[in-house]
Symmetry: C2
Subunit: 344 residues, 2 copies
DNA sequence: CTGAAAGCGCTTACAG
DNA sequence: CTGAAAGCGCTTACAG
């Protein structure tokens, strides 16, 4: 109950060494004898000592502050990212400074520069889409501030990067639908110009080819990641003489739109039509039946990103500057085996 | 471009005063002559000086760190709260430490205590539902850490509190439906036991009475804030011999479920049935037609909350310890005037 | 491998 | 109304 903050001095005293030596152990420097190290470590444990970030930062060279700069309309994504990043940062003795920006505004670059200087940020975490902003990367380079990009398009701008394999995830979903017996599979694309859009399409196409299934032009709809695009895609598909028996949308919102279109045309999901999404966003569980989808390990991604960044700051370095993490196929009620008597 | 961090010493030098006096101006203390003050303020502006939070914190008494502790599944709400809080905190020279917790876990209280001690938090911001946790309030009181509750149920636990008038918001929405000519108005409640649920019901009831409209028991459905509850509510309403011509759901997800039920029963929104939600959450714009709803000034609420908290920390004090902010009625496509020939 | 000294940018008592 | 001094908890050179 009566916890009190312990200091480096108290640790040093308990271990019978100088403050400097205690500091060396805390900071995992070399040149400490094994015996001294274990003595100090025992004292640290006993006093449950954690270095004061404030004092460290006061010294000047480092702030032990990492910025999470975001301009992303998807709050669920951001909060998940935040959870992973906070956890890892705290683990390594860093604080996280969250900064929401509006990338379309001119003063965004100015604000960012000010934030970096003012708060003396050691490094910055860059989720999409801001990770693909040349202006932002230019400021970071000008300020010589290290950064990690999350799910960036390719190796744009260099630097550290953590992401997921969209191509193989989309291929996995496509194979799932094929495995359920579907051969007429529709696909709804995301917004043109974003890297996920083309990579998810690529995964769909490669799996279709792999299974020897035809990709009919009328089964591909150019969407934009909105519910309404899914609704329109569904209306168009269901007007066809022979509509697809399964549709894979590039995200969950469009899949929800497809489900709405299905209901409006009197079709039942998944009995009459299987629908699959991507992202495992909350809407995938908000509608009925819930959506089969792809889950990204968002927290793991941001944890890894922080970890790469801190290794860089400590000049430990990283084996790979680009890390790709795995995804999960989540099967729920919106997809089902194609019943032979249902096909026309 | 070549900005550099300016220090209190540089400000003092430029203004021709001691560091201590410069500090007094920065901290808005009394006992500084008008002339000296304006000199120092000019120097501050010229050097665009901002105090180093780290150095301040190193001194010990204050950390200039405010914790935002949350356990809320609604990410959009949290991110909005975050925007307002970050903005205001930065404005006042504070940093925000974000801490996601899981209130059902036993170690949550332990983690919170540790966070407060470790990071030496000056104060804490408590959004719902954690603002109603007796355990959390107990830790805060034990640590003598000031806090502000957001949208707390009544004056539970004392302390500072900022929220919105749910009763009057629900009444406003009900009047809107009555003004459109609806007399048979259904209502879908939220989850039993939460304070918003009873307050929104209360607002509905009082406005109905005010307009002399009957509240039929079969027009009230006990929901739980989920999409599915809205779906089930709709199915039940539409089975009635004379269903309502307008339905007001206690949140947007349930309203979206109602819309889905309407479509499935072959009804058109808003021509056959008007539907209204509450919260102005993203789903209200994700479905078609978009929902008429109530918008809470979430960012303004968290700004005000931070401002109250900091006044408390500075021992300036606040006029009111409980602040209620206003809401907006957002009319969109899901509600329409009741056409005489449509009523049966 | 270990330590005594100086200093980070600020604030808190204490004087005048 | 204003200032010189001491110190916050740590780190960075510099010695030995």
């Amino acid at each position: 109950m009566n916890e009190k903050k312990s200091t480096l001095a108290s640790v040093a005293k308990l271990a019978g060494v100088s403050i400097k030596t205690a500091s060396r152990v805390v900071r995992r420097e070399r040149n400490v004898s094994e015996k001294t190290r274990s003595n100090v470590e025992a004292a640290i444990r006993k006093l449950s000592y954690r270095p004061s970030i404030a004092a460290r930062a006061a010294v000047g060279t480092r702030s032990y502050l990492i910025g999470l700069v975001f301009d992303n309309p998807n709050s669920d994504y951001i909060v998940d990212l935040l959870r992973g990043a906070i956890h890892q940062a705290r683990e390594e003795g860093y604080h996280l400074i969250v900064e929401p920006v509006r990338s379309q505004h001119d003063y965004m670059v100015h604000d960012l520069r000010r934030l970096i200087i003012q708060s003396n940020l050691d490094g910055v975490l860059l989720p999409p889409p801001i990770c693909d902003s040349p202006d932002v990367l230019a400021v970071l380079k000008e300020q010589k501030t290290p950064y990690v990009k999350i799910a960036s398009s390719e190796s744009f701008g260099g630097g550290l990067s953590v992401g997921m394999d969209d191509v193989s995830a989309a291929a996995t979903m496509t194979r799932h639908l094929a495995d359920l017996g579907h051969t007429n599979i529709g696909f709804v694309q995301g917004r043109e110009g974003t890297s996920t859009t083309s990579r998810r399409l690529e995964g769909f196409q490669s799996a279709m080819q792999e299974r020897g299934l035809a990709i009919k032009p009328e089964y591909i709809y150019e969407g934009d990641y909105t519910f309404k695009a899914g609704l329109l895609a569904g209306e168009q598909f269901f007007k066809l003489a022979s509509p697809p028996s399964a549709i894979f949308a590039s995200n969950d919102e469009m899949a929800a739109g497809l489900a709405m279109a299905a209901f409006r045309s009197g079709r039942s999901v998944p009995d009459d039509i299987s629908i699959a999404g991507f992202d495992d966003s909350p809407i995938s569980r908000m509608i009925w039946p819930p959506l089969t989808t792809i889950r990204q390990p968002i927290q793991a991604i941001s944890q890894k990103a922080i970890s790469l960044l801190i290794n860089e700051l400590r000049q430990i370095g990283n084996e790979d500057s680009v890390v790709t993490l795995h995804f999960d196929l989540i099967t729920r009620g919106s997809t089902a085996r194609l019943e032979p008597d249902m096909s026309y």
